[in-house]
């Protein structure tokens, strides 16, 4: 993990404020390696979601750099930015809000691939000519029956909708998939299934994850390394198996105790 070439994403000194009074993120630096899952924990308002929005370039950072595959993500504009977007995709917290209720599952799943006709993910190479077959394969990859392509989101349960959102997220074979609280709005019984699916897909496709959650158990299950945030600042980062180590920051210990107590 020391060689610079192993790093997919290098974020340095990232800062962002929404207005004079709200400093959402201040001086955050970290790296994500190729194929690595970096977990981000912290309470609401700690800047986790702001971090996701910046990496997706839905917001513009005030300061700092984001280097993805050697490209300065923070500087891209217009069509260059649109082309670069396919490298970073997202699975949002609430799948009901993330799917347009008027569009069929087929239309939602195919939206990214339709936008990048020149992109051919490895797992779709043999059927890139056939949108229908690609959509069917994507659904089966997330464990949904291909016949459901013609359904509308309201005909699916929360967990099923999240699977559709995941199918969308992986459809361009991004280098980095950001999961922003992907299980927070799901039934407890479904949460584990979604986590397992995400983990399987990561191994299968070799993607890197930024896994954001306030659920420490889920983050520990998913991640290689963990980053703890508080009030827009990085508290500490460490290997996931060191979560319970004695030298953890008091704030991290507090978060762990809140779960185990």
């Amino acid at each position: 993990m020391t060689a610079q070439t192993n790093h997919l994403l290098t974020v340095s000194n990232l800062s962002m404020r929404y207005n004079k009074h709200v400093q959402a993120l201040s001086g955050v630096s970290f790296q994500i390696g190729t194929g690595e899952c970096l977990g981000v924990v912290g309470q609401s308002g700690s800047g986790k979601s702001t971090l996701a929005r910046l990496l997706l370039r839905l917001d513009q950072p005030d300061e700092g750099e984001m280097m993805l595959l050697g490209q300065p993500l923070h500087k891209l504009k217009g069509e260059a930015l649109r082309q670069w977007r396919r490298h970073v995709q997202i699975v949002f917290q609430d799948p009901a809000a993330a799917l347009n209720p008027r569009l069929s599952i087929y239309q939602s799943v195919m939206e990214p691939l339709n936008n990048y006709p020149q992109v051919t993910p490895v797992f779709l190479r043999d059927i890139r000519h056939s949108p229908r077959e690609m959509a069917e394969r994507l659904l089966s990859m997330v464990g949904l029956p291909p016949e459901w392509l013609n359904r509308k989101p309201h005909q699916l349960s929360g967990g099923q909708k999240q699977r559709v959102a995941i199918a969308r997220g992986i459809s361009l074979q991004p280098d980095l998939l950001i999961c922003d609280e992907p299980t927070a709005s799901l039934d407890v019984s479904v949460q584990a299934q979604i986590l397992n699916l995400l983990k399987d897909l990561q191994e299968q496709l070799g993607m890197s994850y930024l896994f954001i959650s306030h659920d420490i158990a889920a983050v520990r299950f998913m991640s290689n390394r963990i980053l703890v945030m508080k009030e827009g600042q990085l508290v500490e980062q460490f290997d996931a198996d060191q979560l319970l180590a004695a030298e953890r920051h008091p704030y991290t210990q507090q978060l762990v105790q809140a779960v185990t107590a």
Binding site: L58, R82, R85, F92, L99, N100, R102, E111
Partner: protein
């Protein structure tokens, strides 16, 4: 009765429009009289087998004029509403999606126009341009596009921050495509309701401005102009004012029922 009207409002409204369309298309074949043919020998006749609704003070067949008036009303209203939609909807989309300076510019124009009652502006514009139906339509369009721009802008502004629109951006969907695929369909139901309600108002405005002498000019058989024509004979032949009056009333009622009915249905389900 109220329940019946509420439940079938959309169909009653559509029925009125269908009737109007049928009158426009088939009227000239069913009624053998020229709406403009003057026959001073047949002035002010009461209804009989040849002239079902009688004749006016120039001996013209009243039913033929009403039917011809339906065509004019329908045509002018559709032209006015289409023009208002074509101006208002794109400006609303642009204003809501782009925001910033563009939004500020469009909204200041809107603010200026909404500061005055619709009718005052329409009368002023029609007055400045001179009496003519075309000028009345221009005046109405200049007043009516605002409503569409505001409704569409509002919807776009609330929707564009939602996760599915952000998801489209992340998925690389270009701005224009996002607008047409995700945002416009969201605004369409409200636009439709507003358009149906506006049609009634526009018919009233055209008729009222024509009644005031600013719109359709004699001998054009526009309903408002017919009212104006007949007003000097109100004491002796009130039916000449009642016929076009009832026609206007029924059509406006139909439009309002259609608009209200659509609003109830779209509210209830939130989708088409």
């Amino acid at each position: 009765m109220a329940g019946f009207i509420n439940r079938y409002a959309v169909w009653i409204g559509l029925g009125v429009w269908l009737l109007l369309a049928v009158m426009t298309l088939l009227g000239p074949y069913l009624i053998p009289h020229d709406p403009l043919a003057v026959d001073m020998g047949k002035r002010l006749q009461t209804a009989d087998a040849t002239h079902w609704l009688g004749t006016d003070h120039f001996g013209r067949d009243v039913l033929a004029r009403l039917v011809a008036g339906a065509k004019i009303t329908l045509g002018l209203t559709l032209v006015a509403i289409s023009a208002a939609l074509l101006i208002g909807v794109p400006l609303g989309l642009l204003s809501g999606y782009v925001g910033g300076v563009v939004d500020a510019a469009v909204m200041r124009v809107v603010d200026a126009l909404v500061a005055f009652p619709d009718f005052i502006i329409a009368i002023s514009i029609a007055g400045i341009l001179g009496p003519d139906v075309t000028h009345v339509v221009i005046a109405i369009v200049l007043v009516k596009w605002i409503g569409y721009a505001r409704v569409v802008r509002g919807t776009v502004m609330t929707e564009k921050g939602k996760a599915y629109v952000l998801a489209a951006r992340v998925a690389g969907t270009p701005g224009v495509k996002t607008i047409f695929r995700h945002l416009l369909p969201q605004a369409l139901p409200e636009v439709l309701v507003l358009a149906a309600l506006d049609m009634g108002k526009i018919i009233l405005m055209i008729s009222a401005l024509s009644y005031l002498g600013l719109g359709a000019q004699p001998p054009m058989p526009e309903w408002g102009a017919m009212l104006n024509d007949a007003k000097m004979m109100f004491q002796t032949h009130p039916v000449l004012m009642i016929y076009p009056g009832v026609a206007i009333f029924l059509v406006v009622l139909g439009c309002n029922l259609l608009g209200d009915g659509l609003r109830d249905r779209l509210d209830a389900r939130g989708e088409w």
